[in-house]
Symmetry: C2
Subunit: 402 residues, 2 copies
Amino acid sequence: MTAPLHEARPSGPGRALPDTQQGMRRRNLARVLHALRAEGPLSRAAVASRIGLTRAAVSTLVDELIRSGLLEELGPERPGRVGRPGSALAVSGRGPAGIGAEVGVDHLAVCAVDLRGTTRARAIRQGANRDRSPEPVLAELTELIRQVVAEAEGEGLWPAGLAVAVPGLVARDARTVVRAPNLGWHDTDLGTLLPAGLPLTVDNEANFGALAELWLGEDTPRDFLHVSAEIGIGAAVVVDGGLLRGTRGFAGELGHVPVRPDGPECPCGGRGCLEQYAGEEAVLRAAGLEPGEDRVGLLAGRAAQGDENVRRALRDAGTAFGVALTGAVNLLDPESVVLGGELSGLAPWLLPSLRDELARRTAGPVCPVSVSGLGPEGPLLGAAHSVVRAVLDDPAAVAGQA
Amino acid sequence: MTAPLHEARPSGPGRALPDTQQGMRRRNLARVLHALRAEGPLSRAAVASRIGLTRAAVSTLVDELIRSGLLEELGPERPGRVGRPGSALAVSGRGPAGIGAEVGVDHLAVCAVDLRGTTRARAIRQGANRDRSPEPVLAELTELIRQVVAEAEGEGLWPAGLAVAVPGLVARDARTVVRAPNLGWHDTDLGTLLPAGLPLTVDNEANFGALAELWLGEDTPRDFLHVSAEIGIGAAVVVDGGLLRGTRGFAGELGHVPVRPDGPECPCGGRGCLEQYAGEEAVLRAAGLEPGEDRVGLLAGRAAQGDENVRRALRDAGTAFGVALTGAVNLLDPESVVLGGELSGLAPWLLPSLRDELARRTAGPVCPVSVSGLGPEGPLLGAAHSVVRAVLDDPAAVAGQA
DNA sequence: GCTATTTCGTCATGCCGATTTACAAATTAG
DNA sequence: CTAATTTGTAAATCGGCATGACGAAATAGC
């Protein structure tokens, strides 16, 4: 017999709902929905046995979810077993949709994802946004959003919320961009510049990328470190299936972990931060290349061609990553480290030295480092799916908004 | 309107209980207890308004808690206000007690804490345990435990559980000491060597120290980093009022965060780890002192006397701490950093350079660094209180075990 | 001093949500 | 064709809190 370990606990489905009978019902609605989303079409009886409720209880929950358009009855199952066949239920493909949007440095993207997790509509517009003022950029984005929403509505979906990924720091109100250096934005309230009437969430690209990895990655654990390099170098810390944001929302600043305490000065005030060794600018300089458009593509291209200067620069960056990640892994003991976003394109040349350095500095089993399979799509998908998750976690909140 | 931020959520009272009507009741029992513990004697009506239930509901909850001996009715309040005076309720001082124990390198300690949080019995035995085998040490500890339990029982308390703090790594089963270098123990199951019949939890000294800080410290935030140096240098990461343990339970290894990537070799396999600069051994060497008993006391004494070698050694250690903590703060964005355990005795000479270094490397507001007020008692108190918290978080689990 | 007012604790009642029990429907096994 | 098995639903029950009413015990005002 053991007393409980006092430890941080997960968010889990609907854990924020009030602790009342109504809250319990809402959590049970969420459990039914989650079970059906995770394990394909199931009968009421199958759902009941999976989530530990009775068939009767599940029946009423399912009724409610069907009435709100979140579930569909597919009809009788073709059984190989004895007994009356169940009626298959599935998450609706014509219910609420999560609208995800991304403001990139040189593109805008929007997509719509349904409850099943499939992308049903998308729109992308290339074009440099660096140092354009927010108004025209967001007007363009609004136009794309309208397009995607219209397309989704054409397929019987209705938008349940909008989540926007931006390459910068976002205030905890999830609306205001505090600072986006690569866009030149600061203290911009996106709430007033985007379509009203849709619940809005704005968050850092890196955070959405990590969530995408958590929700869509194959075999992604519930505790990992997601490293990306869009605006500087950022890491998202995922603990027990939730993002660790920090008191001010600034957690994950891997780029300013000291690698060499007496290294070159960094605009952050420190010296020898990881960004001074592995940041985009530093790597370009070390490789002898000029900064310009599509810098990551340039690096990857040259490295693939065998340019030894570029390869050395990337190797050294990997080593610096290894040092910084050693610290992070020692502090957090994550199950794995995932390289995401633009970094995944450079992984072939970064990874060997990174892994080497990490292994050299670790006594026991080495924390595995992998590359995200989502590529540059991560943040956009994470944004759209965050809306979908919100619906799955509390279906009652959106029921009847159709 | 904003969609929810996907983030790690707190444990909170009884969040692990099942999501059923009974679970709800158990959580409400916990809420009543927590309210009474936090805000002194209160009437039923006062409790009701505080936790958001009706007087009627609180009445039945209180009845149950009184029947199980967790609450006491103190009798009518002397009111200055109009209306019938309430009957004051208070957490019982004669109910369950948490038994905390500590296996130190040169002492054993046990204490009993009641639901009110007051220490009601204690026993300490000095004596070096370094490299003694577990059996005799735990036999001695068992003897102390029996003493303390007997004393507590004399005051009408009954032991609800035993929590043991050890200077080493503990497996996630919370019973087995994987490795305690300073004791020379490894893979020792304490469950078989301690009094049976009591729910047992074993954990790292540093973790219990951090929990003590969380529960007993003044103005301690719910997100902080607790640094201690008993076995090497460890940090406990507290997120939203819960410990972050990591996948294998190894989170918080601040001692092996690289400070200088090419620094001296470390037994961990790395180079230039914090421990090579700020570990006990390193500091003693830098100060020109021989290792022996009570090394921390020796350092503090010499420093207080003005020994410049010792002071310089501690200053340098503080600087190294500053570098490592810069990394940690950038990754975790805690509300504060607390120096606890033995470190608190050396704080006067460590802090200035530590704060300097941290400030130098930080652009915005600097993360405040403070010293624990609990001193070396932290881990022992944390252990005892962890049992008490377990009771407060789920009173129904222990009701009727008296 | 007496009454009105206010607040407290408790009871009876009702509501909500899940469980239990029972049963009709739909299938397979023999 | 019957027995067995499983599904989905309806009716009754139970657990838990809310609501509303009431007596009890204090103060406030006359």
